[in-house]
């Protein structure tokens, strides 16, 4: 075996457990691929929950008297996000909310990082974006590029140039701010919810104005909590550790360290008594999916705000 192959094999690791899981999912009748892990950053549930909170607060007027800072929502970026979704999203559709929240969420993290000492290097961001663009285009013939552009336009509704000029730089900005926050966690625990709330309070006028311009309306709900069915793996004092969408037999065979390293692992701080929650039981937890510490962008989440379970 050559060294590169050996190295790739080592990186892939032992996938026999994954194979058994896939086989079990197929043969047990779960013929559709499972839903994606709800715990990572900006899962749909998070966006939805944040949207609900945002919409409710904006339109109850809670923030309307606050002073706004200098903030402008990147309209081109928002429009491209909307185009990217491909389908028609008429005024008032939930997708328009989701995308706005996606923009606000990223902007709030960047702004928060700046208040803690992060200095954004605009030139480095521009250079990285250009490098990604160059790497992408490099090696394609003119015919291949034309075909790619056509496919891109048909699939997403905008050109690769627009993608590299508007979307990639925003993604890099977000990445760099998050990386900085992971390396420089705040002294006092701060959750994503707190950061987003504060950001929206400060910029409520710009946000409301943008919503009006883009015909974004509020959903008819006022909750920022979601329900999720999880398998409890351990209970310690007020903390419930759990996994999502893993086969109980597989969970049984995994060590605590392996479980914690899984993308499907999370902790929940449960108010009140947790004595009735037993390991290896399946419970539905109602929690705020933005209530995890700011520095946990790339690791298992510890959700601080749980309102109930059953």
């Amino acid at each position: 075996m050559n060294e590169v192959k050996r190295s790739l094999e080592a990186a892939a690791g032992n996938v026999s457990g994954d194979k058994e899981e896939v086989k079990h999912r197929i043969l047990s009748g779960r013929r559709e691929p499972k839903r994606r892990n709800p715990f990572p950053f900006v899962a749909t549930a998070i966006v939805l929950a944040a949207v609900m909170f945002f919409a409710f607060n904006i339109f109850t007027g809670e923030f309307s008297d606050k002073q706004s800072g200098a903030y402008e929502i990147d309209e081109t970026y928002y429009d491209l996000l909307l185009l990217n979704e491909g389908l028609e999203h008429p005024p008032g559709s939930i997708m328009r909310y989701n995308l706005l929240l996606q923009v606000l969420y990223a902007d709030s993290l960047i702004e928060y990082a700046k208040t803690k000492g992060y200095k954004e290097d605009a030139k480095a961001i521009e250079e990285e974006a250009k490098e990604q663009q160059q790497t992408f285009y490099d090696g394609f013939s003119a015919e291949e590029l034309q075909s790619l552009e056509q496919s891109q336009l048909e699939t997403f509704g905008y050109t690769y140039n627009e993608y590299f000029e508007h979307i990639i730089p925003q993604t890099i900005r977000y990445n760099q701010a998050v990386n900085w926050l992971v390396k420089h966690p705040p002294e006092n625990m701060t959750t994503h919810r707190e950061v987003l709330d504060s950001f929206m309070q400060e910029h409520d006028k710009e946000i409301v104005s943008f919503m009006k311009k883009k015909q974004i309306t509020t959903p008819s709900t006022d909750t920022n909590y979601v329900d999720w069915e999880v398998l409890v793996t351990s209970v310690e004092e007020d903390t419930v550790s759990a996994v999502y969408d893993l086969d109980p037999e597989l969970v049984n065979s995994m060590s605590p360290e392996q479980l914690e390293a899984s993308n499907q692992f999370a902790r929940f701080k449960v108010a009140g008594s947790v004595e009735q929650i037993k390991p290896f039981s399946t419970v539905t937890i109602t929690y705020d999916p933005l209530s995890y510490p700011i520095e946990q962008a790339e690791q298992s989440k510890f959700f601080q705000d749980v309102t109930g379970w059953k």
């Binding site: 050559n2 060294e3 590169v4 192959k5 050996r6 190295s7 790739l8 094999e9 080592a10 990186a11 892939a12 690791g13 996938v15 026999s16 994954d18 194979k19 899981e21 896939v22 086989k23 999912r25 197929i26 043969l27 013929r31 559709e32 691929p33 499972k34 994606r36 892990n37 990572p40 950053f41 900006v42 996000l81 990217n84 979704e85 996606q102 790497t135 992408f136 490099d138 090696g139 013939s141 291949e144 699939t155 997403f156 979307i167 993604t171 977000y174 990445n175 998050v178 392996q258 390293a261 993308n263 499907q264 962008a297 790339e298 690791q299």
Partner: protein, 170 residues
């Protein structure tokens, strides 16, 4: 439609290979599982493939096509923002084994843009020659060679001299 036993046999025989290939493309174990599950379900529902001797290649092609669709999708492009695939390699695998097996090489390969990465994967991991890679990926042989040169250049910039020598000697 094939029966469940045949499907189970196919998963047993090719599942691990497809999971690894999907991981090399996506760098995401969960997404790899979803893709491979989808591939086997499609194969189960429409097994219009008679040349079982080439089934491995057929399923591999289905897998990488789905991986490419996923990489082009918005969910990957915008939501999969982090670099935690490197962390996952280091947290999920045994540290001593990783050290012994020169994982720096794999991390560098998996860090390449996909069009270069796949050439390296098919050349070194699948051990195809340039012509076979070109045929499999529907590219011209010249394009494959150009991408291989670029891929090696990108890897050289990232690897230590020792690891670069290992790669350049093979």
């Amino acid at each position: 439609m094939m029966d469940s036993l045949e499907l189970e046999q196919a998963v047993d025989e090719y599942g691990e290979h497809l999971l690894k290939m999907a991981f090399f493309y996506l760098r995401d174990r969960e997404a790899a599982k979803d893709i491979v599950q989808d591939v086997f379900i499609s194969y189960y529902n429409n097994p219009n493939y008679e040349e079982q001797g080439k089934l491995r290649a057929y399923l591999t092609k289905m897998t990488i096509n789905r991986c490419k669709d996923y990489l082009r999708s918005w969910s990957f492009r915008h939501l999969k923002l982090s670099k935690n695939w490197i962390d996952s390699i280091h947290t999920e695998q045994d540290a001593l084994i990783l050290q012994e097996e020169r994982t720096e090489l794999a991390v560098a390969v998996l860090g390449l843009p996909i069009k270069y990465r796949e050439i390296i994967i098919f050349y070194y991991y699948e051990e195809y020659n340039m012509r076979e890679i070109a045929a499999f990926l529907h590219l011209s042989e010249n394009t494959v060679k150009t991408r291989m040169i670029k891929a090696r250049k990108l890897l050289k910039d990232q690897l230590t001299d020792e690891n670069w020598e290992v790669l350049s000697d093979e």
